[in-house]
Assembly symmetry: D2
Homo-oligomer: 411 residues x 4
Amino acid sequence: MATRANSVAHPTLVEGLHNRWHPDIPAFATVKPGEVFNIQCVDWTGAQIGNNDNSDDIKNVDLTKIHNLSGPIAVEGAEPGDCLVVDILDVRPFDKMPWGYTGIFELENGGGLFAREFNSRAAKAIWDFKGVYATSRHIPGVRFAGVSHPGLIGTAPSAELLATWNAREGALIAAHADAVPPVAYGPIEKGAYVGQDGIGEEVRRKIYREGARTVPGREHGGNCDIKNLSRGSRCYFPVFIKGANLSVGDLHFSQGDGELSFCGAIEMAGIITFSTSIIKGGVEKFALKQPIFLPSPIDPLYSSKLIFEGISVDYHGDGKQYNMDATVAYKQAALNAIAYLMKIGYTREQAYLLLSAAPVESHVGAVVDSPNACVTLALPLGIFEHDILPKEEGLTKLDFGQCAIRSDGVV
Amino acid sequence: MATRANSVAHPTLVEGLHNRWHPDIPAFATVKPGEVFNIQCVDWTGAQIGNNDNSDDIKNVDLTKIHNLSGPIAVEGAEPGDCLVVDILDVRPFDKMPWGYTGIFELENGGGLFAREFNSRAAKAIWDFKGVYATSRHIPGVRFAGVSHPGLIGTAPSAELLATWNAREGALIAAHADAVPPVAYGPIEKGAYVGQDGIGEEVRRKIYREGARTVPGREHGGNCDIKNLSRGSRCYFPVFIKGANLSVGDLHFSQGDGELSFCGAIEMAGIITFSTSIIKGGVEKFALKQPIFLPSPIDPLYSSKLIFEGISVDYHGDGKQYNMDATVAYKQAALNAIAYLMKIGYTREQAYLLLSAAPVESHVGAVVDSPNACVTLALPLGIFEHDILPKEEGLTKLDFGQCAIRSDGVV
Amino acid sequence: MATRANSVAHPTLVEGLHNRWHPDIPAFATVKPGEVFNIQCVDWTGAQIGNNDNSDDIKNVDLTKIHNLSGPIAVEGAEPGDCLVVDILDVRPFDKMPWGYTGIFELENGGGLFAREFNSRAAKAIWDFKGVYATSRHIPGVRFAGVSHPGLIGTAPSAELLATWNAREGALIAAHADAVPPVAYGPIEKGAYVGQDGIGEEVRRKIYREGARTVPGREHGGNCDIKNLSRGSRCYFPVFIKGANLSVGDLHFSQGDGELSFCGAIEMAGIITFSTSIIKGGVEKFALKQPIFLPSPIDPLYSSKLIFEGISVDYHGDGKQYNMDATVAYKQAALNAIAYLMKIGYTREQAYLLLSAAPVESHVGAVVDSPNACVTLALPLGIFEHDILPKEEGLTKLDFGQCAIRSDGVV
Amino acid sequence: MATRANSVAHPTLVEGLHNRWHPDIPAFATVKPGEVFNIQCVDWTGAQIGNNDNSDDIKNVDLTKIHNLSGPIAVEGAEPGDCLVVDILDVRPFDKMPWGYTGIFELENGGGLFAREFNSRAAKAIWDFKGVYATSRHIPGVRFAGVSHPGLIGTAPSAELLATWNAREGALIAAHADAVPPVAYGPIEKGAYVGQDGIGEEVRRKIYREGARTVPGREHGGNCDIKNLSRGSRCYFPVFIKGANLSVGDLHFSQGDGELSFCGAIEMAGIITFSTSIIKGGVEKFALKQPIFLPSPIDPLYSSKLIFEGISVDYHGDGKQYNMDATVAYKQAALNAIAYLMKIGYTREQAYLLLSAAPVESHVGAVVDSPNACVTLALPLGIFEHDILPKEEGLTKLDFGQCAIRSDGVV
């Protein structure tokens, strides 16, 4: 008979927040290989964004505090040079909080891929979670299944690796000292946080002073924002320090390839379920410079797609020819898709947010046909309530209103 | 009863070769909307490469002659501003020629994505076509279904558009005058060819002098090398001149996203089957800056994949940090995959060719996490005869020999 | 800012159990169209089966009590002739109870598709839920993503429809009075249950006396055990009485097409999330004799499969030729698969349970080639830890132990 | 350089027609394992049906002549008990004959699944092949990619297996002596044919007298009409006589699961490409009672579907309850789909033909919920030019005319 005694929930290892990468951050908890466990995560901003209808919270967001990571979790037996296998068994919002958000940040506070082109002002969309689906009152007419994943997951760097990061990123920052938004974020004590009491002051200062910022993905994983690192996937991480010290955060209910608007995923707070195992010497065995992974069999499948092409010419702007730059090509493909979505009635902001949040696929077409890299962006047709295919009679333009904007009305 | 009278083959509009884009190249044939027709195509080099076991023909290839395009085909009723809908109904090799090739070009003659990193010397793999599959005696251990497509397909540019191309690419060339291989190829009379007799000498000279080279993809389509523009897809092209003047060539039996090695697809000669229709004013109706398309329902489906990540750091080389460059990130992901394939026994050249030719998927992960763009490259597991998954005991290294190399043995 | 005030969980309409279909069972709760709500469900036996290592509970299960359904839920505005659209938004186990079971029932108590052929004795497998995956200590070597769904969901019948059911099934029972197990189960007061207090005794007796048993699927849906009516699907039900009165139960974490062993799914207790809408006059609009549905975009995708064929000849037994009987053909395909699985080391009972529980696909091949119907059964290769493909050297037979059997050792 | 010398087409082993299964039919050609070769096939009726607009040829078809098989092909080294691995590398129509047909046969001449229910009169649809797609002037509004396959493929039976077939089918025929159409077809000399000259008269008479008819699929494969045994699949056949003696025919451009109307596939003449290999003792190694196969990675993928349910109750007719009969359930699901298609404007005959020919998927839902088997039939939405989803406003009924019917106008 089914009883309480023979039914035992997986343990939840309550969050230990931190927002820097450093080998000296102590493990918050330790697990054995094979154990199934849950981690609770706040959203990446630490609950700065609310479920409401203006974007003032986006405008004023304090980005010195991000990302709020849960962990580190040490895995018994993991040593440098090993491979830490992480099964991402589930990712879901808290039952008590069935919503998330996608934001466009101000040019001067966060930016985004089109921050300069659009001279971005704060905007957002709130998404309601209805089981496996998301819908938004701010972007009517679409519903899609989430490819839920952690935007940020990684093992702790060794001191040596950390030094490498700080050196190479520092050189880039130095070379672009005046960029708005900045090209990268170096270590800074302001805002640094490690939510554990038992750390000596000296160590804490060292972590704050040297700790790598969490925005970019790096060799250990980190903020890669790969939508297919989703629930059901299996990921192989290189281990750099004893225990591996896995941290995770920035949960996404869904995201399109590219995460266009920077805060482009559907950001949420929630629970992630893991189990781990260790492959001794895996870094050498698999030539592991960076994580590799096996995708999930339950990633959303929308076989009908409308695909946009982009090349590395900024013909939406000054028409400049770039040399084989896939990022420029991706941007052009996205701009082409935005232009199409505006034909069916979405505002530029809604389209920008939708391409960021929906399970859009972006493929590298070719990066060898000098000087034009070619990138495609595929819009799944099954997410739209209406038929948006190109028709002889043209496209039907509907009124979808506008997403949440600033209370002063500036867009 | 089935008779010859009630069975009529689709007409073949025999090839009219040319290798430049210019509005003044006359249409070779004219079709009506709705008509199904075949076009025969030579391979992109014009049969310079043979089915043999050394790569001397790759080493010595004459690239001034490429690409050999079939067409142009005018479509009745098409006018500037219209959208030309092209159904790519089939793409297949000639029955009498069931093979193709993938090549690595010399650094100084053609190059490729890793030409500089690898100091590339000529190499190639011959692929045997067995119905829907390709196998290679030069890369044993794999078999995959082709995602057959034209590497190059496009409408003719207007004089104005052509001028734009030549101006913007000329500026880039001027800025990188000493690059090896060159960053782009400007108009040049040497090698220019239009295989039609009835063209006046003055027009011919004008075409040769101004005609855009065929290497890059552009607003009209062109050499986009998008593998999913495959048989069964429907493509929407902007029309720039009366008749649209569609040209096609560079048929590929298969290709991976990115076409890594430049001559990275399985290049072949063969037959492409089209039908067309016109949507009046489609450029405006669909905000059509570049082609858009609907993919094919019969693209190969390999759901099990091993996925490699790459970021915009050149740590295989000098470790330099690039600023959000998805091309660098794609290269790193590819290098990580090559390192893995070498662990299971392929040579670097075999791995480079295989990633170029097989139905590899490359997604833009995220391009907003400054300074690291993140790109993934997914290797379909179902194409391998052996199980190549990461295992606790490590990977089994087999002996797959080597691909076809130069007769002087230089690799 | 995210606060408790702007975060509201979906309401849970606590279960109202009943185990008969009858129009007079009052609605337990009423919802408005568009509302998202949860229903808690016990497992189909009402917790008779435990998480342990023998099958005595299966042997002794009391089947007069099944199925335990939650509901009915009335939907405001639904009237006979309407179509009730039900979005199955999520289906998941209770967090506190991350396990389920698959059982083989005794020939004389429950039976199953091979009850007679195998002279079935009780056996079972306990499955552990690890996020989206299930594994079993009783069937080692496999892991698969769940295609989670309600085995049983339907609207309440009208008095007229109920009478039709009882008449036609009564005629079948009468014609096979001595069958073991019985060919069908008619209304019977013993075990009947409606868990609501405010029902008058006369009505209650009427329900118990006339109420249709829950085993078969019927025009209203019911116990169809369609695995693809899964989380993410949208189902269109005919409405027979005012309010529609939707009931649901028999949640499955996973199931193979056919549900081979009768208790063949991974049976679980848990939570199902719905929203509903009404299409007035939908029965006539859509010629709705039975439910129709749109499948989910997140059903597990395992593209590599090994497929077994079966024809309507019982050559595993007496070799008799049946006339176009797809059920016989399905059984043969399943027997062929069981024989194959036994070659790789599973016992007959393990194989029988595995084919029942895993996301096996069974297609009707052809039912027109007299006298042999042909049915296929596809085993997804991605669920096995080992490579089970046919190999020149034959199959490797491993030792997978045995599933849970009776404490007296009888198999 | 590509030359004629280094380009060699695969050989075509010209057809050797026969229309019976018998171990004494000599091999027409012999191949070595690994060889790639083509087989030409006439359509199953031997070109009795024409590309025209009435169905008189269907009405008058001579079914004593079917199926016209090409072969047998002996494979060097194959012996009884071995497994013959057949790679179906390609299946395509003759270039000179880009069309096929789907037919509804008269009740008294061929029948079909609904022959009695519909009192079937001859009807047909001609399909035009446009590369990978089929369209029909007789069923406008749809276009789909073909899942091209041989309806009939098998190894030759041993004398013993042949005797088993004739005995068990003879018993069934005897038990249903008066059935219209007959429940099965026994050996009969009339119409028997083996197109090889060098066979002695005595042997020929023996073959004609004993040879099994080709309609049903059996343990050797045969007329299984499994749509997924398509180009790109790999099939494992049991070998019963020396050489295996593979025969093939009844090529289908496309077919739905079930092949509803008997001549329900898109029947065509064309070319099939094979390679073979042998696994010694494979019957024992793989417990091979019947063929098993690996499906193709290029089977058409239409992820959006509308799914109809059916149960084993004949309520469209007499309302009788059947006992767990999946064939009845399949028929109900098909009738439900036909009723839906008639709501959007197709005639009953068009709908019947369309469900037969299009890549419809039919799954066995459950066959354990006594007394109702449940079968589903999934209509791919992507094959329709119009949106056919259930909508609040109901379905739009268009005028699609009628398919080809008898010249006397009888439907």
